[in-house]
């Protein structure tokens, strides 16, 4: 086995020799740069602040309607140096893309360009109020309008709703457009068909939008069972929700045929665009018969995931659904002015059938500036290269692993931007979870595990296009090593990770007796 890195560390070095474990117990619990950190509420004090403000004048008159707070809030404060140190120490217990390879399938953990951050912080975008007179926010509205134009053109669609705040919110937006379109024609159909491999948000969204959800099975090759779908179509089917490329990492090659059948039966086609990164600049969903598709700006267009949001989920719409898109949106008139079309001006712009309003203001402006910066940096040619490199990297991993790791759909042809594996050949009770935890010890964030549900012990690996071949080769070496241990039944893997800030955490205990806030 070759040394997997150039740091001087060699695999044949024993743990004690490398000096990492096996040293003396420390009095602090710290281990060199691995630092323990108490909770804010254990170190903060109620009389300390890190912001210099005028002392309260108790004799100053107030007009608080007699509701002055009499009880303590229970907050604690830290000075600036203490605050910076506390959160910097916490940050070091996190894994991020900046630290290493993060192949979390269906999440598209690509590099977040720093130019995006810089542009979003320009005061002209960051320090502007959503209700300023529109004459004072023309540049902000132009960003929305320009991004909308890119999204429509890249997808070959007719319109776009910009206000949804995340992918799941975009799904909701698309499904409400479908509800509104059906209502407008007095159509009572209420069944939504969702493949069993779909992300959990799909059925949850359809149910939230007032539809009844029915599953559609997958074929053994990992795609939607077209015959089953067609057989189920009828006057009660409002829509299908299909992810393309799908959650098994495959392109739904019969998508157009399915879409045509759904349309012929009077239904609509919702496409979950979570995996748009595989086809951006390369395939236009509009050419496949899509009526609505959300785009996760935090996936394909690199806005940061931020430890779980904020996301942004604009929804592109077909000609049939665009009239029902929600308020507000932007429109540029011949005089070059960009208008913010809201409830009062809707009729002026011929948009009288909007299904309503999804959020208080206009959408995730801070994400729009970042996404537009990313798109302008890449251009039409660069985006096409994004899709090609993302797909190339995933296929490279698929073909570099399938000799030792079960690839249930490896024979179905090339994968798209993610490679799917299963744990059926592991021995001695070892499972996908153990491999994931073993990868943590190797310095990687694990892949998505146990999703999609259609594969036993699923491992969904999405490398993205922003990794070098050297980084991917190094990952493959580490991944193969852990998989080999799982195939051999290495008992030690069941206790992994050993080298992370925490060992395996008791999730069952956490749920049985939830402790959701600091007490004391």
């Amino acid at each position: 086995m070759n040394a997997p890195n150039k740091s001087g560390w060699k695999p044949e070095m024993q743990i004690a020799e490398s000096g990492f474990l096996g040293g003396p117990v420390t009095s602090t619990g710290n281990r060199g740069l691995m630092l323990e950190e108490p909770l804010l509420f254990e170190i903060g004090r109620s009389d300390v602040t890190g912001v210099d403000l005028p002392e309260i004048d108790p004799s100053a008159p107030t007009r608080l309607g007699g509701l002055e707070r009499s009880e303590a809030i229970g907050l604690v404060g830290l000075t600036e140096p203490e605050t910076v140190r506390h959160y910097t120490r916490l940050s070091r217990q996190n894994y991020g893309i900046d630290l290493g390879f993060f192949p979390l399938g269906s999440c598209t953990m690509k590099h977040n360009p720093r130019l995006n951050e810089k542009m979003a912080r320009l005061p002209g975008f960051a320090d502007v109020h959503p209700l300023q007179p529109v004459s004072t926010v023309q540049g902000a509205l132009e960003v929305m309008n320009e991004l909308a134009h890119w999204l429509i053109t890249l997808t070959g669609m007719h319109g776009v709703a910009m206000s949804p705040k995340a992918g799941a919110h975009g799904e909701l937006c698309g499904m409400l457009c479908i509800r509104a379109a059906l209502e407008a024609r007095g159509d009572k159909r209420d069944v939504v068909l969702v493949p069993e491999s779909a992300h959990g948000t799909n059925p949850a969204t359809a149910a939230f939008a007032g539809f009844r959800v029915e599953d559609i099975p997958a074929t053994p090759e990992g795609r939607v069972d077209v015959a089953a779908l067609k057989a189920r179509l009828g006057p009660d089917v409002a829509a299908v929700m299909i992810t393309n490329p799908n959650t098994c990492g495959l392109f739904e090659k019969d998508f157009r045929e399915m879409a045509d059948a759904v349309h012929a039966a009077g239904g609509f086609v919702y496409c979950d665009g979570a995996n748009f990164n595989a086809i951006v600049g390369k395939v236009r969903p509009g050419d496949l018969g899509v009526d609505a598709m959300h785009i996760n700006l935090h996936k394909t267009f690199s806005t940061p995931h931020g430890g779980g949001g904020p996301g942004s989920g604009p929804v592109v719409l077909s000609e049939a659904l665009a009239p029902f898109g929600p308020m507000p949106f932007t429109a540029r008139t011949a005089d070059g002015v960009v208008h913010l079309v809201e409830e009062e001006s809707a009729s002026e712009f011929g948009h009288t059938q909007a299904f309503g309003r999804l959020t208080a203001f206009h959408g995730q402006m801070g994400m729009f500036t970042r996404a537009l910066t990313y798109i302008l940096s890449h251009g039409a040619d660069g985006l096409k290269q994004v899709a090609e490199d993302a797909v190339l990297n995933a296929n490279y991993i698929l073909r570099s692993m399938e000799d030792i790791l079960h690839a249930p759909f490896g024979a179905s042809g090339p994968c798209m931007h993610e490679a799917l594996f299963g744990d059926k050949d592991f021995t001695n009770g070892l499972s996908t979870l153990d491999v994931a935890k073993g990868l943590i010890d190797e310095g990687y964030h694990p892949m998505t595990v146990y999703f999609p549900l259609v594969v036993h012990g699923a491992m969904l690996v999405e490398p993205t296009e922003t990794e070098s071949k050297a980084a991917i080769d190094q990952f493959i070496t580490a991944f193969r090593g852990v998989v080999e241990r799982a195939l051999e039944g290495d008992e030690a893997l069941k206790q992994a990770p050993y080298y992370s800030p925490r060992r395996r955490l008791d999730e069952t205990g956490a749920a049985r007796k939830p402790k959701l806030a600091f007490e004391g």
């Binding site: 403000l53 100053a60 303590a72 939230f208 995931h305």
Partner: protein, 458 residues
């Protein structure tokens, strides 16, 4: 392309390993009808950092920056000073480029921060438990209504007329499709909130009554009677707060008997950002309601060595487990905005938040007194925190605000913008004042308002 590390040599080597002759072989499953002959037509090609920056700066320059002029807008988004260290921390790559903490062993930074955030929000709201955040205040408001219908198994929500109209619109949009009934109203233009009318609208079919505090006109009232009336009919009280700084000065909603407290957290740490991303806050007073809550929850536990650690918990409520039976379809929260809120709140602490609230209120009182002296201006509110309603009898507030903007003063939010077509509200203007407002700003607003009123024919 500066973001794409593969070289052509790499690509060839990788294709050889795969056994494909070109990258197009990997797209063989794309049907003929959807294949393109090259980059999508009609779009520009890639550009350098410098070129992109030039373009974006040109667009940014077309906006009037709030911090560069006298600025008085609020109505659900407030301009506060954000300490410099907040942005430093949220830009750390370990926070910025992490994802939802699915692997808790290497996500303790995000998880412990969320635990601290949940504790801060619960205490601020006077509640037992807060979640790890939602998209924004308006969507949190809908989630509260949806939760109340689950808890009470009733389908009717009564909205106070003084709830932010955009929040009411979001609730009505969603309820239309879920089959819930929403009873809404317009705000009454009175110096104090009219609670008697609201209480009269609560009946045995009511799942919840939704009240904003301080309300859309900036007024403050003790909501204890509303809580008692709601509870007497078996309904829940949902209190909406759009300005968390206010709760440094006034009683918490939990103290007054609110069952669910939701709000917008943008005012602390997040900044204006033209409306998003913002930060939805969600808390419940009674821990027995925890399992009906939407969104992610972080809980304390221990690891295999017995050390304290944190995990996402109670996920059996959520979409990835429950699918169509989930409490909400929400997947992500507003993690980085929650971090910004928590760092700002940590810098403030109990002492700083109280001082910040006092300073906001002091300046707002100054502004109200000064504007009341302008001929043709009447201050509506008896009570307020940092935002109040100004009446301009006989003058269209919206035109006056546009006129002020032309003269470099962002003078407030006209109610005509929020309630288009409602004649009774056309003469009303919301004025928000924070610690960032100077006494010179207030004087300038008074002078410009006086001039504008004189110029506007009655």
């Amino acid at each position: 392309m500066r973001y794409l590390p593969l070289t052509d040599t790499d690509r060839q080597a990788m294709l050889a390993k795969i056994g494909a002759s070109s990258v197009d072989d990997l797209f063989v499953d794309v049907p003929e009808v959807a294949r393109l002959d090259g980059p999508i037509h009609g779009l520009p090609m890639h550009a350098s950092e410098m070129a992109v920056e030039r373009h974006m700066k040109k667009l940014a320059a077309k906006n009037l920056v709030a911090g560069e002029v006298p600025f008085f807008l609020g109505a659900g988004a407030y301009r506060h000073h954000v300490p410099a260290s907040v942005d430093t921390i949220i830009q750390r790559g370990e926070f910025l480029t992490a994802y939802t903490p699915y692997q808790p062993e290497i996500a303790q930074g995000t998880l412990q921060m969320l635990f601290e955030f949940q504790t801060q929000v619960a205490r601020l709201y006077g509640c037992a438990v807060a979640n790890a955040s939602l998209y924004d205040g308006s969507t949190a408001c809908w989630e509260a209504v949806a939760m109340a219908t689950r808890v009470t198994k009733r389908k009717r929500a009564v909205l106070s007329g003084a709830l932010h109209p955009h929040y009411a619109e979001v609730v009505k949009t969603m309820a239309h499709y879920t089959g819930d009934e929403i009873a809404d109203a317009l705000p009454s233009i009175t110096p104090d909130p009219e609670l008697a009318g609201l209480i009269g609208r609560i009946d045995e079919e009511t799942a919840c009554v939704v009240v904003q505090y301080p309300d859309i006109l900036g007024r403050i009232a003790d909501l204890t009677p509303v809580a008692e009336a709601a509870h007497a009919k078996g309904a829940l009280l949902v209190v909406v707060n759009t300005e968390p700084v206010a709760l440094g000065a006034i009683k918490s909603p939990g103290e007054m008997g609110a069952d669910i407290v939701v709000g917008e957290g943008q005012a602390l740490g997040v900044g204006l950002q033209f409306g998003g991303p913002y930060l939805g806050l969600f808390a419940v007073r009674d821990p027995k309601h925890v399992r009906q809550m939407p969104g992610r929850l972080c809980g304390e536990t221990t690891d295999a060595e017995g050390k304290r650690g944190f995990v996402l918990t109670l996920s059996t409520r959520e979409q990835h487990i429950r699918r169509e039976k989930a409490t909400s379809n929400i997947c992500t929260n507003s993690g980085l905005c929650a971090l910004a809120f928590t760092v700002h709140m940590t810098l403030l602490g109990e002492k700083g938040l109280r001082e910040l609230a006092a300073e906001n209120h002091r300046l707002a009182c100054l502004a109200a007194d000064r504007l009341a002296k302008v001929p043709g201006v009447e201050v509506l509110n008896n009570g307020f925190f940092n935002e109040f309603t100004v009446m301009l009898p006989g003058r269209p507030a919206r035109e006056i605000i546009r006129g002020l903007a032309d003269r470099g003063v962002l003078g407030g939010v006209s109610l005509g913008r929020l309630y288009p077509g409602v004649a009774a509200l056309e003469h009303a203007l919301l004025v928000a004042v924070t610690e960032t407002t100077t006494e010179e700003d207030i004087e300038r607003l008074a002078e410009e308002l006086e001039a504008a009123i004189k110029e506007t024919a009655q």
